[in-house]
């Protein structure tokens, strides 16, 4: 695991040992408060998804900001185990749980934590039912419905109703409603995103009505709202919006929702300046995870991060920078997709007012299983 060298509380952010994943709590708090405020008078409540930062301490800041449904979302059973053990007692697992071992672990966790799971397949429902029964617990179950992404989920309409009936009749399971895992509204302007949200979620609302008309109450309809929270949270029939990018943001998401700013950045050190036009930093792809896009260099006009090999990041420099960015200089990189960067670290260096306040464990890192 990551082995940071101790530095005392109060250390200036720029003096931190590098590479370091630094979270600015001032920006994170502003993001959290702004996001949670949207849900003050909306019919839908917020369920923070903690899989993006994997950090219980940041999760508790989110829950304290109010207007939530009281629960959180995570991706895997492993993550649910971590957050179930760090003070979160209502957890939705958004990934599918299909292996016997994972279902057993989930049911064990359900002894002490309210667990909701999503399904899109009848066999999976039978298996969950069997293990829930033998564990003596009840799992809340949402039917995952595909809103058009073509990934997991049943098609809206009859297929959703059919699965809902199977859950309703399965011992150990409680049919709770519908679930949409797709991120909607990433492209185009706000209006286009809003239209797309309405268009994508209409079949989900219709499915809800279909199920209710068949005599089954639908308590919950949970949809992703990372980019379209303001539209999705106001659609009648949607009870919960889950979202997780907003506390820390990243380059990609701040282009789509610029009212929130990146609060987690990677501090790196220049280790080489071999020719005028190039500097090399100590953060390569292992320290940044640029799988979906390159991190963006912040605060050095005329310099650009252009290549990342395993251990090195390459900065291309305009001529006037030949005497700057010499070995030892520090630079800030804004991750393109922060979720992937967080996955490479075990600690956030939490700073407030540009001073270190602590090393915050990324406790659920790597709990893919």
């Amino acid at each position: 695991m990551e082995r940071p060298v101790f530095q005392p509380v109060g250390t200036a952010a720029i003096e931190l040992d590098t590479p370091a994943l630094v979270v600015d709590l001032d920006s994170a708090t502003t993001n959290i408060e702004r996001f949670h405020r949207y849900f003050q008078d909306t019919p839908a409540k917020l369920r923070p998804h903690l899989g993006f930062h994997q950090c219980p301490r940041i999760g508790h800041l989110q829950m304290a900001a109010g207007n939530t449904s009281g629960g959180i979302a995570v991706t895997s059973v492993g993550e649910a185990e971590v957050f179930g053990g760090t003070g979160f007692n209502d957890i939705l697992v958004t990934g599918k749980v299909v292996t016997r071992s994972a279902m057993q672990r989930l049911c064990a966790l359900a002894q002490t934590t309210i667990i909701t799971i999503s399904v899109d397949n009848a066999d999976n429902i039978f298996n969950l039912s069997q293990i829930a029964m033998s564990s003596g617990i009840r799992l809340r179950v949402l039917i995952e419905v595909d809103s058009g992404s073509g990934w997991s989920g049943v098609q809206p309409g009859q297929a959703g109703l059919d699965l809902a009936r199977i859950v309703e009749n399965a011992a150990g399971l409680e049919f709770s409603g519908l679930f949409v895992n797709d991120r909607i509204g990433m492209d185009g302007n706000w209006e286009q995103a809003a239209n797309k949200t309405h268009e994508s979620l209409e079949p989900i609302i219709d499915t809800r009505k279909l199920i209710e008309n068949s005599g089954m109450p639908v308590a919950t309809v949970t949809v992703n709202g990372d980019y379209n929270f303001d539209t999705a949270s106001r659609i009648s029939g949607i009870t919960e919006v889950y979202a997780g990018i907003y506390p820390l943001m990243d380059w990609k998401s701040s282009q789509i929702r610029p009212e929130f700013s990146p609060a987690a950045k990677i501090l790196a050190t220049v280790i080489s300046h071999p020719i005028e036009a190039r500097a090399v930093v100590d953060a390569g792809h292992k320290a940044t995870a640029p799988d979906e896009g390159l991190p963006v260099l912040e605060g050095n006009p005329g310099a650009e991060a252009t290549r990342f090999s395993a251990e090195h990041g390459i900065l291309d420099l305009e001529q006037h920078l030949e005497n700057e960015l010499q070995p030892g200089a520090k630079v800030w990189l804004v991750p393109y997709n922060l979720e992937l960067s967080v996955n490479q670290y075990d600690y956030f260096r939490a700073v407030r007012g540009s001073k270190l306040v602590g090393f915050w464990p990324i406790s659920a890192r790597g709990r893919f299983e």
Binding site: V5, V97, S272
Partner: protein
């Protein structure tokens, strides 16, 4: 942190929680054997790079198998700390170390094991010297020569000669030699192609060696070569050490290196089959990485990874193929150290059963 309990030795692979990182022990031993057989009788020896496996257990296994210099390379000071603490007696840090705190840690290690470090400029050499003097240790210094990666390193012979002279004169430092990295422009499995390209790229560092020696400074170490050139660099007189690392775990972008077998794979489970021709698996970018492309599904010609998100992958099921929920697949990465650096342990598998569990102790050692 991946702090789940280790699987019991002997557990069937089908009973492992997924996704997980497995190591095919037969393939690993084969890959280590290729290196030990090749370097056994050569003047040049392997100094395996620990950045690829980040595990002292694997470093010792290759050293014990033979063909090595008896030490490893490391990319970062923290990685070197893990190797020294794990009992490795010689570690070459192949990156420039410029930060004062890191140089201090380097000196601390030099009190425990032989430490070599890359260097490309005089100011850095002076700082290394001051710290070594202060701590009363000796640091071995190796000049990095740029030979095609357009990254770090000195650019020409004159620079190399000047720096070698400077380092030789500095107290606390032992000028040990020179190093270079190179990438194959047009990957080819034909050894003739690799010989031509390898020799061409490696010639520059040999010329630098001659230039430094003509000043009366001896060059003990010429460290170069990688997995793709292991059998090229090893034949070139003057080359003393090869830095290979990818050969251990292997990856599809090295599939032209047919001497080596794919050893590191991600075990994943199909979790959804939403419609005809499509399946969803529980391993995504966070588990496998996607830097040089999508991973390949091992032994399943009917399945192709079409795209990956952070936490899942979408497979295309070819006509006539079949995929059902609960199916386990093995994924071979396009780039191995990007995959390994996402995991805290290898689960070693032989004959479909868990043989060993190795901690990837230096995962996350970015500093």
């Amino acid at each position: 942190m991946q702090n789940t309990l280790n699987p019991k030795i002997g557990t069937a692979i089908t009973d492992l929680d997924t996704p997980c990182l497995i190591l095919d022990m037969d393939a690993l031993d084969h890959n280590m054997g290729v290196m030990s057989d090749y370097y056994k009788d050569k003047d040049a020896k392997l100094r395996g790079h620990s950045k690829n496996h980040k595990s002292p257990a694997i470093a010792h296994r290759q050293i014990n198998k033979g063909g090595t210099i008896g030490g490893v390379c490391a990319a970062k000071v923290s990685e070197a700390e893990v190797m020294v603490n794990g009992g490795i007696s010689s570690v070459f840090i192949t990156s420039e170390i410029v930060d004062a705190g890191k140089i201090e840690r380097l000196c601390n290690l030099a009190g425990q094991s032989q430490i070599l470090v890359a260097c490309e400029n005089a100011v850095n050499a002076q700082n290394l010297s001051k710290a070594a003097m202060h701590y009363g240790v000796n640091l071995g210094v190796v000049i990095e020569v740029e030979t095609g990666l357009t990254r770090c390193g000195i650019q020409d012979f004159d620079q190399g000669v000047d720096l070698a002279r400077e380092i030789s004169a500095l107290p606390g430092l032992d000028f040990q030699g020179i190093m270079s990295h190179q990438m194959m422009e047009q990957p080819s499995s034909a050894k003739e192609d690799r010989v031509i390209e390898g020799r061409q790229l490696i010639q520059k560092i040999l010329d630098t060696k001659s230039a430094i020696e003509s000043e009366g400074i001896s060059v003990n170490i010429v460290s170069t070569g990688e997995t793709w050139s292991y059998d090229v660099a090893g034949e070139i007189p003057g080359v003393t050490e090869i830095q290979g690392g990818s050969y251990l775990v292997m990856e599809t972008s090295y599939d032209y290196m047919t001497d080596f077998q794919f050893a590191g794979k991600i075990l994943t489970t199909i979790i959804s089959t939403p419609r005809e021709g499509v399946a969803i698996g529980d391993a995504g970018i966070k588990a496998v990485g996607s830097l040089k492309g999508m991973p390949q599904v091992d032994n399943r010609r009917d399945l192709t990874v079409e795209s990956m998100e952070a936490n899942r992958a979408l497979y295309r099921v070819e006509e006539g193929g079949h995929a059902k929920i609960g199916d386990q697949l093995l994924l071979i990465p396009a780039q191995q150290d990007a995959m390994v650096s996402r995991w805290d342990r290898f689960i070693g598998i032989r004959n479909e059963k868990v043989e060993t569990v190795w901690e990837i102790s230096a995962r996350g050692c970015h500093n």
